[in-house]
Amino acid sequence: MTDINFRDDGLVPLWNKVQGGERLTLQDGLTLFGTNDIISLGKMAATVQQRMSGDAVYFALNQKIEPSNICVLSCRFCNFAMKADQPAAYDMSLDEILGLIKPEIREVHITGSLNPQRPWNYYLEMIRQIKEHYPQTDVKAFTAVELDFFRKKFKLPLQEILAQLKAAGLDTLPGGGAEVFSERIRQELYPRKIGAKTWLDIHKAAHRFGIRSNATLLYGHIETYEERLEHLIQLRAAQDETGGFLAFIPLAFQPGTTGIKAPHEFTSAIDDLKTIAISRLMLDNFPHIKAYWVMLTEDVAAAALNFGADDLEGTVGGEKIAHDAGATSPMSLAKERLINIIRDAGKIAVERDGLYRPLEVHGEGIVGKIPYLNSVPFYNYFEKGRFKLLPAAPRYLGMLSARGRIIAAPFSLMDYLAQEDKLELMDYCIASYEQVRSIMFFSRFPWSELQGKNIGIIDDTATSVHLLRVLLEKKYGVQANLTRMAGGNQDYRNFDAVLLIGDEALRANKTGLPGFTAVFDLAVEWFDWQKMPFVFAVWAVQKSLPLGMKKELSTALRKALAREEKEHPSLLSTLHGRRIGLTQAETAAYLGGITFRLGEAEKAAIKVFRKLALPVPDKRDNSLKSKGKK
């Protein structure tokens, strides 16, 4: 994108703040809502979007399930809820619910009414049976409003509710029921629904339990801009505490026959896009902003992909709550239509699972981006040209490359070795001669006592796992059980040791993990043993790519790295470090300890590691027990 030519000079100070990583205040938000310079506002948000999610726009093959419309509440803005004796009332059996799910569905999204008729076991069974019949499907279920209803109706503590749902297979919580965190509005429109504090407490409790969630805002009715912004600021503070929110979803109010607004008085497209863009700018700690096309219309959602939104929801299928209130969008969108909309917006269409891991991508010229601090020097000043950037954990970049979906990436070394026949090394890598601090092993025991012990590993990269195994077996002569942990799982109690990588490792290294008294930097372990650098990742490009593209990529990387090194550490690196709790000096030291150029010493080290790691073909799959997640 070119620099912003502001028509409204009032935005310039805010743009300086955003670029400097300074948080926007409520007053700043009001200035943004007040501007007519929509395009500049959009470009500000799009710049942040690019930083956070590259060119990826996510969607899911998902199915909305609304098990019942019988509700004990009577919220004024709702056209969906019924009392049990009304003719349109419905209450689905488990078989009816299962009947809605097609085999290709990868996420079900269950929200409904507060139905007084069903026992607790109905909800647990719902999730269990979905997981049993459709194991490839992630389950996003029950808003905080429903969870609060469960705990009161079934007289169970929230912890117990969450534990049982998780055991049944619940993956994430949807973000509904937040409405607007304003007590004034709650009193007026939904006095019997939970308020801001309960909603936030439930989400924070879920996050601490390893269940991630979304957050919403229902806007475009009687709320003021201040109330919208206060809502965002409360969400931002909660995210600072737990980091558990995945996406923020502004929901445009559908007037229907609610009487709050005339039936044709939908939000304006400009208000919709402002709200998307301002959300992206205010919520600097939310990974994703979702353009929920069901309520925005396909048109606004498509435009939103250039105004800060990186998520288009999905195929949805059978949504009723918004449509009962007059939503004019279709009930579902075909996958091909979603892909076309995303590609026409200039983005990569990424089919995601419940945790935003890429299952499939659609687009050309896709270059992988490792979203850790150790890779930012390649990307901060990367001039994209014909390329598009896809952020994903190394493991997923390896998988996508194996299927020919991406043309280049910094690959985890093991992934490169597995695809040597079709990948060509470039001159860049992520290597370390000593401490790397981002591949950390936290143990309750010294190395020699790990025989037969249970080690949890983050499954983001194969290389660090192989390095750990080589060290355990070849350096220390012990065999242990390695078990994959789900991403974002912070519950390490059942493990004797855990292997963390990337930003997760940097963060834990700083704070320490209680109970894990022995802490090892695997790069140091390797160096002490082999007196060689350790190469964690190498840049490689598809051999079949035209020479011109290879050169263009190589030049882009060379320039980006040179500029980054000149500024060492660059502002953007410092900001990234700050997000994971590092000071500027710590970020500088960390990046200073990494070798980004693939020299002879690094190539020699790769050879040594290959011999140690790959003597027996793929032994890891025998001992790698998958726990919980696929």
Partner: protein, 367 residues
């Protein structure tokens, strides 16, 4: 990325070439394109104001001999729902519309061999005599070609007689995409690119004003779109007769072409084309956002991508339903939408003269 050279040209008000236009359409990031288009929009129309016209769009016949593959409207003679209205019937329709405040009648119809040239002249004369409150905005280029072919009069004579009857403006329909490669496939009997341009050139030479349209989102490629824009830009250099450019997307439902192109072009495509048109058509005073054909919300967005006009309050495909649909709500809703998008609204006539301004009281409604 937009190359600095193109950026500089646009900034300095220099004309961009066809190949530069292709690059903009294909490669520029959406908001970069919007930013440039906005710059040009305010250069042409400095007021933060969006115009609209209170109009209706009836059709005198749906019988047509052109068999265009994208059309779901036309019928063959003898079809059960084929119709052809008399001049008096149309006048009654116009009077009803005028009574509801309509100022412009955009009248088009099929190319129907049973209608003599006198029918068209009489329609103009009677409208002017009997419905003085409305401005007749009649007959697109393919209809003019049809009149010429069926009457044996030259294009010039047809247009001159219509002018003498009192017609002053023509709608810009029937252009589709001005590329013979495309036109051969979607509208082989509607005349060539040169034919359409010849009608418009002759009309502008006589003194008519017209719009120029483009229907995209089917078989055209980027170079076809740019060829279209260049053709109308060149013609505009000659007489300056175009008032506005109006693009819309092909709607696939119920047409033979829709079986090949089942998906409507994406909303982003519309915004890109609006923006590109504003940048490329440096001699067009206005770019129209078609909220009735493209959707209300995308219509609002287009106002930030170079469009300064909101089109008509009513585009009605069916002559009988037309009057019933027109009421004050449409006008008010139109004004509300323009205000909510952050602009003052202004009612204009067919020639883009302002009739009445509706200042936005509070651009962003806030309770």
């Amino acid at each position: 990325m937009i190359s600095p050279a193109i950026q500089a040209k646009v900034k300095n008000g220099e004309r961009i070439s066809r190949s530069e236009g292709i690059r903009l359409l294909r490669d520029a990031e959406l908001l970069d394109l919007a930013e440039m288009a906005n710059l040009v929009r305010f250069r042409h129309n400095p007021c933060p104001r969006v115009t609209f016209v209170v109009d209706t769009n009836p059709n005198y016949t749906n019988i047509c001999e052109n068999d265009c593959t994208f059309c779901a409207f036309y019928r063959r003679r003898g079809d059960k729902d084929a119709y052809s209205a008399t001049v008096s019937e149309m006048i009654i329709n116009f009077q009803a519309a005028a009574a509801k405040g309509v100022t412009t009648i955009l009248l088009q119809g099929g190319v129907n061999a049973e209608l003599p040239f006198d029918y068209f002249l009489e329609m103009v004369k009677k409208t002017i005599a009997e419905v003085p409150a409305v401005h007749p905005h009649f007959y697109s280029a393919p209809e003019i070609m049809g009149m010429s072919r069926l009457s044996g009069l030259s294009i010039h004579e047809v247009l001159q007689q219509l002018w003498d009857a009192g017609l002053r403006t023509l709608p810009g329909g029937g252009a589709e995409v001005l590329s013979d490669r495309v036109k051969k496939k979607i509208s082989p009997r509607k005349g060539s690119t040169a034919d359409w341009l010849a009608v418009m050139r002759e009309a502008h030479r006589i003194g008519f004003k017209s719009t120029a349209t483009m229907m995209y989102g089917h078989l055209e490629r980027e170079q076809d779109i740019l060829a279209h824009l260049e053709s109308i830009r060149n013609l505009q250099d000659e007489y300056g007769g175009f008032t506005a450019f109006v693009p819309w997307s092909f709607k696939p439902d119920n047409s033979p072409l829709g079986k090949i192109i089942p998906q409507r072009a994406t909303p982003t495509r519309y915004l890109r084309i609006i923006a590109l048109a504003r940048i490329f058509l440096d001699n067009f005073p206005h770019i129209q956002s078609s909220w009735f054909s493209e959707g209300k919300k995308i219509g609002q967005l287009a106002l930030y991508f170079g469009a300064d006009d909101f089109g008509g309050t009513l585009l009605e495909e069916n002559v009988h339903a037309a009057a019933n649909y027109l009421n004050q709500t449409n006008v008010n809703e139109c004004i509300t939408m323009i205000h909510a998008a952050g602009f003052d609204a202004a009612e204009r006539n067919t020639c883009y003269e302002i009739r009445k301004v509706f200042l936005k009281t509070n651009p962003y409604r806030q309770s």
